[in-house]
Subunit: 355 residues, 2 copies
Amino acid sequence: MKKTIAVLPGDGIGPEVTDAAVKVLQSIAMRYGHTFHLKHAEIGGAAVDQFDNPLPQQTIDVCEASDAILLGAVGGTKWDANPAHLRPEKGLLNIRKHFGLFANLRPVKAVPALLSSSPLKEEVAKEVDMIIVRELTGGLYFGEPKRRSEKAAVDTLVYTREEIERIVTQAFEIARTRRGKVTSVDKANVLETSKLWREVVEERKAAYPDIEVEHMLVDSAAMKLITDPRAFDVMVTENMFGDILSDEASVITGSLGMLPSASIRSDGFGLYEPVHGSAPDIAGQNKANPAAAILSAAMMLKHSFGLDTEAAAIEKAVMGVLEDGYCTGDLAGNGKRVVSTDQFVTKVVEELERE
Amino acid sequence: MKKTIAVLPGDGIGPEVTDAAVKVLQSIAMRYGHTFHLKHAEIGGAAVDQFDNPLPQQTIDVCEASDAILLGAVGGTKWDANPAHLRPEKGLLNIRKHFGLFANLRPVKAVPALLSSSPLKEEVAKEVDMIIVRELTGGLYFGEPKRRSEKAAVDTLVYTREEIERIVTQAFEIARTRRGKVTSVDKANVLETSKLWREVVEERKAAYPDIEVEHMLVDSAAMKLITDPRAFDVMVTENMFGDILSDEASVITGSLGMLPSASIRSDGFGLYEPVHGSAPDIAGQNKANPAAAILSAAMMLKHSFGLDTEAAAIEKAVMGVLEDGYCTGDLAGNGKRVVSTDQFVTKVVEELERE
Ligand SMILES: CC(C)[C@H](C(=O)O)[C@@H](O)C(=O)O
Ligand SMILES: CC(C)[C@H](C(=O)O)[C@@H](O)C(=O)O
């Protein structure tokens, strides 16, 4: 298979962790006979510094000419005082909107070797295996009017039936490949958009008689993620609720540094990035945990290229390295051996070659 | 002191837990020489059943003629299929709006005797002592337009400078009586309302040089509540974020059944209610945990009547009963002795008499 991948390293530890993921992709290409063309471009603060634009046209062009996008991380205090259109995050918001990446997939899976770093009791966090499907291009993030005056400000939470249908369909399809349960999260006792959301879920579920569907209020979901996270299989929700709940979910298993994400549309094109931020404090020190970026590359192989075997091989290799007791500094403790970013990648590649 | 208190038992376990709180209030009245006139009225599903209205005019009249409101709980599956204006929660939303109760105070404090029921590791949950100050009458809950058609729906997130100023001022004042730190939570990298919110916080802080102020994005706050809840003293945020974060916070210490809340305005008038719901499954069985309702009554004494000594006596009595090893069924385990609602109240009253 021949594929072109846009690589957008971004800021902070972004370059290190995308480099790591690229090494793993190259090893996969070699072993399975694929060709991955890698085209680098700038996004976020790095792009602001060079082009005065967090998502320059040349970056869009590179992505348009690619089959998928691998992103590192954006952001850093350096750009905190910038006006909104020159902030790193704006690059992320713009790229999602430009490419219509309406579905953000955030799997959260407990890694036995890492449970000791979870803030939750091990018996609560163990065996958690869920995925949050967050709507990513609608709602409060982009709704108009969105403006302010001296005296007041307004944002608009708007959803069309189609926007809800496509994300809900995405969630149902994903549930079919998992344990067959969808929890739809809304605030239907207060919001009109949530009432429409709930209606659409009820309609769509007729086409998925094999899927168990439950509705949950967002405040209850925020509690249940902590008290009983194993109760979830697929959670689907709107953009702002998804932002909050997916970050909440990301810390429950103690493996934030391990979590990948995908932002996709229906035709298979997608952007893949680690959940963690740009961590400017440890940037350039060969300390960052590359696992999330590597697992994001695995998600790309699976979702955008249909390479399920290769994706599974990467996941297995990463877990193997962890089970052997190696980890980066963020996961230190309990007798684990701390290695550098480079060393971790080398171990993953060795595991891949051993498989 | 002579005060009139409107008692709105509501649904499910609401009547039992308000009865319990009333007994404690009567004991306080006797001991400290106060007179509390109690006037009962209906709200929520009970009011829908009797008056076809979750907040009937006669209930409003009773509250108008009172100095504070004590509420049990509203809601239950029985009314789930009702149209929005006949749902129990609507009574709650209406009473907040009618009386302009713009500040919702939700203290979360770890109780050593209960840490074993926390889903968090004890070393993470111990010594948590924070209060969430949630804006309660603005934002997405009430903003117009709020409507839907066949094809789309819209809700409006709107805040005026004044609405933000008064809630932020409330938070600063509360911080002065505590550890002097305010964490303001917003989504200023996406929302116009959040940018205004952040600006107002920055302006107001000039008048509170003794208070340490930090800004935090809502997604980060959702993580930090789990990974490091001790980092918070006073958290202030808008209505919807507050709904989600305060429920998230309510489960971290394992003492949801113990948590009180207050919904107040600037003149001291307020509504006091337990954080837990109406728990229809155990209603009428003399099993419900009355601690949250009792502690809500204590908040009333303090915030609405300025009776700090009496409020502290109630808190001490409740903690004393727990430390003696007694609790209701929701907190069973670890060798604790399970007692009924009535027995728990009797023990609290005995403790009060002993003090
Ligand atoms: C950076 C920010 C705009 C973004 C969001 O809120 O969507 C981030 O928090 C995320 O979840 O990817
Ligand atoms: C019942 C509901 C409308 C209410 C809210 O969202 O405000 C409740 O969740 C609360 O937090 O008091």
